[in-house]
Amino acid sequence: MATSTRPTTRPQSELTQRGGGVLADRAFALVSLGTGLLVLVILAMILITTTSQALPALREAGLGLIVGDSWGANDPDGNGPATPQFGALAMIYGTGVVSVIALLFAVPVSIGIALFLTEIAHRRVRGPVTMVIDLLAALPSVVFGLWGILVVGPAVVKVYNWIFDLVGDVPVLGSVFGQPASTGRSFMTAGLILAIMITPIITSLTREVFSTVPESEKHAALALGATRWEMIKGAVFPHSFGGVVGAVMLGLGRAMGETIAVALTIGAAIQITPNVFASGEALPAVIVRQWGESSGTHRSALIGLGVVLFAITIAVNLLARLIVRRAEIRMKGATA
């Protein structure tokens, strides 16, 4: 604070008198502190209010809400469970499978693009490429979902069938790449769409990490006679491992929380199967799909799924931030 003492003999400047007293200053500081605290309040309220609304379902299903593998609000065909059952294991499994598939595709591609931008591309190419990646990030997820369900799904069924014919009889591969769903809406399709959606975020974070690699280390590697690839392997990767892991974790958090694109492309079949070409269901997708027709305990159970999803994504995000911060500190130590 600039509270300079000035000689009392001089006439007081008008500025200090008109500029509001200490009170205005204090009030402004308090208001801005209040809005800062709003973030903490909202996060705490999300946890408290949603959990309390999920209690009825939790009371009914107990821990079965998380570990039970049977989900049915009512008994449409008469051969299901007599009472409503709320077990989310199949959805948790679906979310996991879809996220893993998405990461398997998105991580190598993102690292590739990041390397292209930092190590290969001419400065003039960088701008347009970054622009394209940003545009990919700007497209709404529902547009990805629309494209996935109406264009990609029907198109990839042929590829799925081809792979199934190829490896269907091989013991392990045959069960992973099993009989495809006829609509193409499956774990695999949802995972592919998700991969496209999380590529921009992993790319931009990875690129930032790569750009912190000291030029001197890269030049040293090249001067020792390394090819560009050996330089990347020897200087870029070891230096940025932690940061890349953090970026991947953030991508994972995004993938697990993505709702609409997955809801449209995964196919709405609540089942646990190793077959990635089969239809499935994911945590956020089932909430949005069944929300309109739910009431009472069913709705409460859906909110409970939201709590589970919230807990998982918060944990993944915190872990990711921690890893990124660790990596940042280490990198700063290296450059200093």
Binding site: I111, I113, V143
Partner: protein, 303 residues
Amino acid sequence: MTTATPPAPATAVRPDLRRSALPARRRLADRVSTVLIVLALAVAVIPLGLIVYYVVARGGPVMSLEFLTADIQNSPRRSGGGMGPAIVGTFLITGAAALMAIPLGVLGAIYLNEYGKQRPLARLIRTMADVMTGVPSIVMGLFVYVTWVVTVKEQTGFAAALALACLMLPVVIRSTEEILRLVPDELRQASLALGARRWRTTLTVVLPAAIPGITSGALLAIARAAGETAPIIVTAGIVNTTNWNLFAGGNTALPAQIYNSASSVFATAQDRAWGAALTLVVIVLVFTLVARLISNRFAVRKR
């Protein structure tokens, strides 16, 4: 690189430094890696091109003035109808969300950068704002449902705006803080030295200097929020006619309409989904591009 080598004695055997002297295996690995890296770029660009192509090719024929203004068709089977209510809803809901989230977000950023700085509380808020950007939009929708919709017992456009505001808030805070950090300290010191109080310095010196950057960040947040679907479906309810009132009656938005029509088996509904997608993409891209333009301008001035 290694051009400044001192002249070697003539007797020494000079190593062959040409690229062709590398073992074939190393040269191949280098070549293959380069090809793979460029391929990765193509793998990401092709879907973007395809999506844009399909949205324009399938949505274009549907587009007309009637499509943009007419009420939503009740039956998915029949053709005709438009997206008027959804377009109005998108602008109303996103606008209300922006009105709530942007001032609060900027104030929060002012706390973080001007008052909190590196104090433990400010650090906690910063981390939690980052975490909050990772909260799935569906969870935000559920949160507003259990706190607001359950209390007022009605699904309204305002509830959806609240959910979108919660999603935008951390984004605005973090992007604004980044910009405020770029405002040179000399400006603050000069203002304080002239006798201005801290709040006056912040409002009349720091904020005006950062306005282009803040605007760009806010526009990006708006673009992101306009495309959100899940919170709208959970909180806004269903309506097929234009509802200008955010506080009474259900509302709808383009993303929710796309979701509803996309899962329909009827070609007429699917056509409307493509048309709505084209409209939404245009809206989102306009916001994104304007944000980019502003931030590019700002970057130039920042040198």
